[in-house]
């Protein structure tokens, strides 16, 4: 894993949004996501096989191409929920606040890095737990304003149930808030999660 020296885990490369797995655009803002379900990839960028430790990591990249509107990433509204078949809540549809509250019922909400209390136990064998914890925090997506012409990206972390089926399909929901229009733009993506 890591050596005795404080060797830094590498940053995830910044790619054009079209090169990530899934991408959607609404009202001039584009959001792309890349769920890290490959153990080699999480080993490389996070120093451990995270799915094995019931943690799903998703890269979220946002570009604001609107000429006038600011958007705020609503970190506490990011969620992972059961995929509903034939539901009225279509993917990419603008969803009101109340609808969002309804659809996030029972969802796995995004887990702030500070809440990943098991990290120290996950990495007992590692020489440098501080680097792994620092790396988690440094790469985390935060609640931030994205002004016109700007972009942000970062990772969100979800705790998965330890007892889960070999293949799970979930819906990732990301909310961007327009502070002037006082409305949320909801972006939804289907994610397949493999076994440990």
């Amino acid at each position: 894993m890591l050596g005795c020296s404080a060797q830094r885990l590498p940053d995830y490369p910044t790619l054009p949004l079209s090169e990530y797995g899934q991408m959607k655009t609404q009202d001039g803002v584009t959001v792309a996501v890349h769920p890290m379900t490959d153990s080699q990839e999480t080993e490389k960028y996070f120093g451990m096989n995270l799915l094995k430790h019931d943690t799903l990591v998703v890269l979220v990249a946002v570009e604001n191409h609107s000429p006038t509107v600011n958007f705020i990433i609503q970190k506490d509204r990011i969620s992972l929920k059961e995929t509903l078949s034939g539901g009225s809540n279509k993917i990419g549809q603008n969803t009101s606040e109340s609808a969002l509250a309804a659809v996030t019922g029972g969802a796995i909400l995004v887990c702030p890095v500070a809440a990943l209390v098991t990290i120290p136990f996950m990495v007992q064998a590692a020489t440098n737990t501080a680097e792994i914890k620092r790396n988690f925090a440094a790469k985390e997506l935060h609640q931030e304003t994205i002004s016109p012409g700007n972009a942000k990206n970062g990772f969100v972390y979800f705790r998965l149930p330890p007892e889960r089926s070999a293949q799970m399909q979930k819906t990732l929901s990301i909310s961007l808030w327009d502070p002037i229009g006082k409305r949320s733009n909801i972006f939804e993506y289907q994610i397949e999660i493999g076994s440990k």
Partner: protein, 207 residues
């Protein structure tokens, strides 16, 4: 030396060793917290009366590292609160400091126009192999600005990093140089980001 005398010596040594081990198990070193705010460059003030909400989570924030026999703590609550107030006063015309309200919504206190909430997002310190190695302290502070109805107006997260020699781990000022660098970087950047925000200035102009 007789056998009974030898047994007594062994018993006394064992007791002394056990006492040292038990005492060592409970040792906690609490490092000194900076008591003065960092120096901040003046900026053109934003014409808003701000309620600066210093939550109990911010006031209690600290870095802590536990090892088998030792616990190391770096309290951060007072210095983060003090520097948040200093940064807010550089950026905004009026600042009303409120402690003890941990809610992230409205209403504003005492006629304030907006609510500003700083929070410690993360803090980490590494441990080089020797006291001559370079230690790195990394920290992230999140700022959230709400209107009086609790709607999000603006948010950012500012990161800072400081490096310095590890030095003597049991010194009360261990890690202080790198902590000073981190605080300077974070609150300097915070002032720049808040004062450069079009959203904040547009909101102030619309009032």
């Amino acid at each position: 030396m007789t056998a009974s005398l030898l047994n007594r010596v062994i018993a006394v040594c064992s007791f002394a060793l056990m006492s040292m081990m038990i005492a060592g198990c409970c040792a906690t070193i609490v490092y000194n917290e900076p008591t003065k705010p960092v120096a901040l460059e003046p900026v053109q003030k934003v014409d808003l009366k701000v309620e600066l909400r210093l939550t109990s989570a911010l006031r209690k924030s600290q870095w802590e590292h536990k090892e088998v026999t030792m616990t190391y703590q770096q309290p951060l609550g007072n210095t983060l609160s003090m520097n948040s107030e200093a940064a807010a006063k550089v950026v905004f015309k009026q600042v009303l400091v409120i402690s003890g309200n941990d809610k992230a919504d409205g209403p504003c206190a005492n006629g304030a126009d907006v609510i500003l909430i700083p929070a410690l997002a993360s803090v980490e310190r590494d441990r080089p192999a020797t006291m001559f190695g370079t230690q790195t302290t990394s920290m992230q502070v999140t700022w959230t600005l709400l209107d009086c109805e609790g709607n999000l107006l603006w948010a950012t997260t500012v990161a800072g990093e400081g490096k310095g020699p590890l030095g003597n781990l049991v010194s009360k000022n261990q890690g202080r140089p790198q902590l000073d660098i981190v605080l300077q970087e974070i609150f300097g950047k915070s002032v720049k980001e808040m004062s450069a925000s079009d959203v904040i200035r547009q909101y102030a102009a619309s009032r």
